[in-house]
Symmetry: C2
Subunit: 397 residues, 2 copies
């Protein structure tokens, strides 16, 4: 290996997510760490049928190169779905992506220079930090309560940071907290973005997984100045192994993102785009989403009930109205990473994600993220019961 | 749109490839521009069967998230194929990529800083320049003859460029020239890379498409210091719409590239990796490659014969021993871009790629790339005959 390279490599940091993926692979561990969808909900029959159709009926096209922006038919279908969600737009405002994650990478490449400031929720999605880091931004984390980002703090950050370029938010059932931004805060965020001439990146992988309450309008639907870039994904409503997501933004921005995509990986899999397009044509994806919602609602209630029954009173948790995650907060001074390696894993065989990794600047040690989407019901009950009993024992609660 | 963003966007340049893709979509044009495989050669039956198996038999795994490095089974299969090609390696030295293009992007991100020098063949693959450009490198193009890069010039460049970081080469049936690097030059390139402590990026999308002569050893097979990063692809031997390629490099480099991949798009499609893996298990991919070779050999000979029969003597062309491209060189002063828009397109309805776009620094106007892989035989004959006659008419040859 080049000696220059060897020194350079010290700058690439290993990822906590990767280590957790490895942990999750041990079948003896009850894993609540990963943000995996429930694989038993994948629409196998439908996907089998549409892949067969895409290959056997349209294989000469759907296995060939396409264009970096994505299959025109799928772009139009996504635009039509966006319109039903309050964002009337044309196919030219849609870019098909290699999952929502690629949107984080491309948007940062387009908008963020070294030492520019990215404003995020505090805590925020770890995958976004990983995508943004190569641009060497500075971060400003805005604290949250049950209604999302604190808008007074956001305004303060925007006032004192002239290099703020981008507000990154997961407004619906946020990862990792499960919190949803209230309507009033959404309106205020758009006002502030307009006032301070900042772009907004709205990431919505869980948006369609609402279990209760009314759907709130997207930030994009309130955007009158073309400054919201919206990211959506089929990962949680069809299957993540397809790697198909999308961005919605003004056509000029989509054009520039498409050039960055061309440079990065030429295009998404033509076949997977064709199959998703056929699925939307031939199957009732909203009926399928209703099934996912019902299952996750049951699992969320099961996990929350078990936590409330067995955890010490000093541990608080969020009660999300959708999505895949519950956020646990322990008393100050409690270190969830240390507790996991010293007690939860060896004594209860339970894995969660220690919360520190989700904070962009000052890492708080006393939180944890647990996911109820993937484990079977009985594992949710057994795992949360075991963790709760262990916590009571060790915390003396 | 943000006013800051509007000014920033001027830095993202539109791509010649994209404009050509649009041209190729006009059915009235005989298109020899794109580097598309012949879609009639896609192994539809086999792909249909393995996608069905991956979904119906293994759908819970193959539609779920996997790991950023790629499916372990496919990594092992690729390693086994590499060993048969003279590169004994383990699965941990293989990274599965979203097509070879993603390797260009990730390797540049890992190795190249602003104003570092990337050495390429002159001319070189346009997609590589597009992938490297966001790192803002300087380029040094090394001229080629029928044996590939001129090694005396390469040595001279390495001597006077202390910031040379990477030698990028397509040694087999290069894009755009069709030229193959000789064995002696390959050995010398490795010597020079070792002497000057530079990394080598060996890009081999066409390697298995040899029509005649003996396969030459890869640069990677001669690499004793772990400084060659090898890129391979299933795009030309199975189908590009799958977007499955791979890198081979020392395990430590693969680990760092995998972290960059995690940031960029999480992972490749689990489903597509599973299907390719099953294809390699259940079908004879080498027999399939033999069919592709026979077809492309016929088409290459057909195109070359037609060119030799109908083109003016002043136009020279390469005679590739494999791959998908012939490189035409016109007399000095001839402008192939202008000739295409003023004559070839309106009068002969023929499109090729004007050569200027393939030069990293000084663009030469008097070349063109034509591809014989995708058009049917009769279009090859009709298109090259029409272009030749038009050239004779306009050049007075």
């Amino acid at each position: 290996m080049s000696t220059r390279l060897a020194s350079r490599m010290n700058h690439v940091k290993p990822s906590a997510i990767r280590e957790l993926l490895m942990l999750g692979a041990d079948p003896a561990i009850m894993a609540f760490g990963g943000g995996y969808p429930d694989a038993s909900l994948f629409p196998l029959e439908g996907l089998d049928a549409v892949f067969h159709a895409a290959i056997a009926e349209h294989g000469r096209e759907s296995l060939q190169y396409s264009v970096p922006t994505g299959l025109p038919r799928l772009r139009a279908q996504v635009a039509a779905r966006m319109a039903l969600d309050g964002v009337p737009c044309g196919a030219e405002e849609v870019l098909i992506l290699q999952g929502g994650q690629q949107g984080l990478d491309l948007v940062a490449k387009l908008l963020v220079d070294k030492d520019d400031v990215i404003i995020t929720e505090n805590p925020t999605f770890l995958g976004a930090l990983i995508a943004f880091n190569p641009c060497e931004p500075r971060y400003a984390g805005v604290p949250m309560d049950a209604e999302g980002m604190d808008m007074a703090v956001l305004e303060d950050v925007l006032r004192r940071e002239p290099r703020a370029r981008l507000i990154y938010t997961v407004p619906d059932f946020q990862n990792p907290t499960g919190v949803t931004m209230s309507l009033a805060r959404r309106r205020r965020l758009i006002e502030l973005a307009n006032q301070f001439d900042v772009m907004v990146l709205e990431d919505t992988p869980y948006r369609e997984l609402r279990y209760e309450g009314e759907t709130l309008p997207t930030l994009k639907s309130m955007d009158t100045e073309g400054r919201v870039i919206f990211l959506g994904s089929f990962s949680k409503i069809l299957a993540p192994g397809l790697r198909v997501g999308w961005a919605v933004a003004p056509a000029e921005i989509i054009g520039h993102l498409a050039l960055l995509k061309l440079a990065a990986d030429t295009q998404c899999s033509t076949l997977n785009m064709a199959a998703v397009s056929l699925f939307l044509d031939r199957y009732d994806v909203d009926a399928h989403i209703a099934t996912i919602r019902a299952t996750y609602r049951r699992k969320k209630n099961l996990m929350l009930d078990t936590i409330r029954r067995h955890f010490p009173q000093e541990v608080s948790c969020t009660d999300p109205a959708g999505g895949m995650f519950i956020w646990l907060t322990f008393p100050a001074g409690f270190d969830t990473a240390r507790f996991m390696s010293e007690h939860a894993l060896p004594e209860a065989r339970v894995a969660y994600v220690p919360g520190a990794t989700f904070f962009p600047t000052v890492q708080e040690a006393n939180h944890a993220r647990v996911s109820y989407s993937s484990p079977p019901d009985e594992v949710i009950v057994r795992g949360m019961t075991a963790l709760g009993r262990l916590l009571r024992l060790r915390m003396g609660g």
